[in-house]
Symmetry: C2
Subunit: 156 residues, 2 copies
Amino acid sequence: MRLQRSASKRAAQASTCSAGRQKVHGVVGATPYHCAMPSATPIIALPEALAGVIYGPDGLVPAIIQEQGTGDVLMLGWMNEESLRRTLQTGRTWFWSRSRGEYWCKGETSGDRQWVRRAYFDCDGDTLLFVVEQEGRGACHTGAHSCFYRPLGRSS
Amino acid sequence: MRLQRSASKRAAQASTCSAGRQKVHGVVGATPYHCAMPSATPIIALPEALAGVIYGPDGLVPAIIQEQGTGDVLMLGWMNEESLRRTLQTGRTWFWSRSRGEYWCKGETSGDRQWVRRAYFDCDGDTLLFVVEQEGRGACHTGAHSCFYRPLGRSS
């Protein structure tokens, strides 16, 4: 039920969204097409906000990724100062992979890109929140829409 | 605008929510009152799910707290095995304070309690998500509804 509601919210969102979308028109064979491709809306960072971000001893800060429109929490990734800079500057999410020890731009290989629409830091400065437009199948490498598809248990 | 929408969603949620609420009736002076107080709905954990939670080298796992109904991301706290156990068992959020080195139950002092309604772990097992009913003013110690009230910048 919850997934159905999310899917219907996503459909409504896709049909009404206009900010951060680039209109594309063309013809394939005899068929004209009109579609709205997501486009980047980089964030112009406030210097005092950037200075307020507190990184852990490993130089990383957790970044929660939430879907615009549905409000679904999609995933949590880790950012260092450079991946945060890239994220704001490009309008795409860039993380630091703790297991591989390298930067990765979400969806660069899979096509499941995340287009940043809003960015926040919390009261303590030690957690980030990005509201994104999720392209493709979803955020999870398993193919699920959200990485949080497994319940820890059931309500009593 | 966003905050207004959230407030109206919260009002709608409060008027329609029934699960996890305890009906209270009484009389103050000549005035009868009927209100629905939040009540705990502990989570009966799946042993295989608990075994799949991966704690960091410090024994902690990040826990995202999202509000039921509005979908607002309220805060991120840290849990160890014991605080996760307490959270599921009591239906209230229990965290490990990294700065104070002690357990804390959200809202125990302030009254801004969180009543757990759903609990998830992510595909990698190293992040938790709790969907809660937020009581009182909100989740943030500043009095804000969400800890993520500060933008990192503005969209270009």
